[in-house]
Amino acid sequence: MRRWSAAPVAVLACMGAAFAAESPDCAVAAHLAVADYPLPRVAAAIDRVRQLDVLVMGAGSSTLAGPGGTDLAYPARLEAILAKQWPGVKTKVVTNVKSRRSAAEMEESFEKILIEQKPALVIWQSGTVDAITGVDPEEYRATLNEGVEALQAGGADVVLMNMQYSPRTESMIAIHAYADNMRLVSQQREVPLFDRFAIMRHWSELGTFDLYAATKKLEMAARIHDCIAQLLADLVHDGVKLSRDQPKAIQ
């Protein structure tokens, strides 16, 4: 039974967290974290300014509650990994994360943020809240479209991030229409999609993580966030490489 398997998993998670950075587990999903489109503004920021400002715009799943949660969540981990990946580049990841926030609510604040923070890359996580509240999928797509347009016009590259794979609530939250729309926007606007759903489902299928486990502890969540950060860094790296290989004028 699922419930009984939680304890050994928690122990494993504790062990895993200690050497999470070297954990090879995440890599099994590496083929799902590939940038299909270049990130020219990020490449320019790294090559010309030697400074990379990243903004993570998201809802509850872009952070971890509890003591020290913020430092264990993927934005903070991403900052550490990116800094290692590009030594000599001043890397900073800022978060703008509030739970229960829809894509439209996030989109409203883009203009102000672009002026104030001027990020070269915005990682925009959304979808679950919209699915729970039943926002019209058409409207959701329009919001993503407008948001991506505004961010690009404001000088930022965008990576869209979709929902987490949550097997226990899968029959209760209809996320697929939203995930499909996000994929569509990614293709039409030619911005990379970080397919968190597919990645986590792959981990679940291979037994990398037991996503059914019920626990109050942060260990497993921290490991998963670390893995997400690693794959996200791979994707950003990919996107930068793509734009160096096929340089394209920034409009």
Binding site: M1, G60, S61, A65, S99, T133, G134, E138, T169, R201
Partner: protein, 387 residues
């Protein structure tokens, strides 16, 4: 047992509605390997189109006769009674859904899923949630088909009347409503936000088309549908849809879809019943009409009997299927979601649906034979499947 119906009863309707009910059940279990074999993974349309079209067909077949024999008021009253039955069935399913999320909310905790736990907020304010559900505004996942069916039946009496007087005009009016819906973006509001997942103003087109076919339309266009050109076009379109859908499953293939085609085609809108979906359903229907003849002896074989039985008790079997898909997901959560388990749960679910359908047929036979029963039950149920 074959229902006591006139000879023209088309068993193909029951067969394909039964199959659609199985597919709906399989598709509603999330992350089920067996659902990879359902038609939505091979084309644009899915079981919902089949279900709604055949429901329109049988509704016209059953209530159309009642309207001719006993007039508008009696037939209209019966249609409304049917809508009420479906409403009650929907509320019953809603209670089961609430029980499921209440159970999961009390047994599941993981800081990773803080955001997903938002779904349990509905439990915190039952005063609002329950009332919105009673008004068919709050519709949990996978519980959208019955409200659509209710809405379609509520609007059906005048449409049926018009179909009998001026069939072509009725169909044209339905198409006009569909077009206006797309143009103006009409839909019914949902709770807590957004609108209906199956827009009744758009989906009515398929329901009315089914009704139109039942009232002589099928005969009128029969020769055209069976013509080699139409069949060839249908096959070509099905192959095209299959190729496009494959690019969704294998993203490496997506590059082969020309950009202009993607821009013209996407998004393929299920909420408003995209034209591409209708075309896909019609192509499927044309192939079936061409290759499965109503007098095909296979329709009376033992092997197809389970599906036909399910199709003849569609409301009960539909509800049971939704319940079983909840239950199946519950088993995945609590016991195992190994592949053998997914296959087992899927097969067992279909077996239970068939057993229930057989049981209901049996009930109907004993009720029909018992002395002192109503002279001739005029209900939709007995006229060969339900409306």
């Amino acid at each position: 047992m074959a229902p006591a119906t006139p000879a023209q009863r088309d068993l193909r309707l029951d067969l394909f509605r039964g199959l659609a009910l199985w597919l709906i059940f399989l598709d509603h279990i999330p992350s089920n390997v067996v659902s990879w074999g359902t038609i939505r993974n091979f084309g644009f349309s899915d079981a919902a189109e089949i279900f709604i079209f055949i429901s329109g067909y049988t509704a016209a077949f059953v209530y159309g006769r009642a309207m001719l024999e006993r007039g508008f008021i009696i037939a209209g009253a019966r249609i409304l009674k049917r809508a009420w039955q479906i409403y009650v069935a929907h509320m019953f399913l809603f209670v089961i859904y609430m029980a499921e999320i209440a159970y999961v909310s009390s047994s599941f905790e993981n800081p990773l899923y803080h955001e997903e736990m938002g779904i349990f907020d509905f439990l915190k304010q039952p005063d609002v949630t329950l009332i919105q559900a009673l008004m068919l505004k709050f519709k949990p996942v996978n519980m959208d088909v019955l409200p659509l069916y209710i809405a379609l039946l509520l609007g059906f009496p005048p449409i049926l009347w018009l179909l009998q007087k001026q069939a072509t005009l009725a169909l044209a009016a339905s198409a006009l409503l569909y077009a206006l819906t797309w143009h103006f973006g009409w839909n019914l509001a949902a709770y807590p936000s957004g609108s209906w997942w199956f827009n009744p103003f758009a989906w009515q087109l398929l329901f009315v088309l089914g009704a139109w076919c039942a009232l002589g339309g099928a005969e009128r266009i029969g020769r055209f549908i069976r013509s080699p050109i139409v069949v060839a076009l249908a096959i070509a379109y099905l192959v095209f849809a299959l190729a496009i859908v494959m690019t969704w499953h294998f993203s490496s293939l997506a590059a082969y879809v020309p950009k202009w085609l993607g821009e013209a085609m996407y998004p393929i809108d299920k909420v408003n019943l995209d034209v591409l979906r209708i075309a896909h359903f019609l192509a499927l229907a044309a192939i079936i009409v061409r290759f499965v003849h109503p007098s095909w002896p296979g329709l009376h074989s033992v092997w197809l009997r389970p599906a036909i039985l399910c199709g003849q008790h569609s409301l009960e079997v539909f509800c049971l299927g939704i319940f079983l898909s909840f239950a199946g997901h519950f088993v995945f959560n609590e016991v195992s979601d190994a592949v053998y388990m997914q296959v087992l749960v899927s097969a067992l679910g279909i077996a239970i649906m068939c057993a229930a359908a057989a049981l209901m047929s049996w009930y109907k036979t004993i009720e029909g034979r018992s002395p002192g029963s109503r002279s001739k039950p005029p209900d939709a149920d007995l006229a060969g499947g339900e409306a």
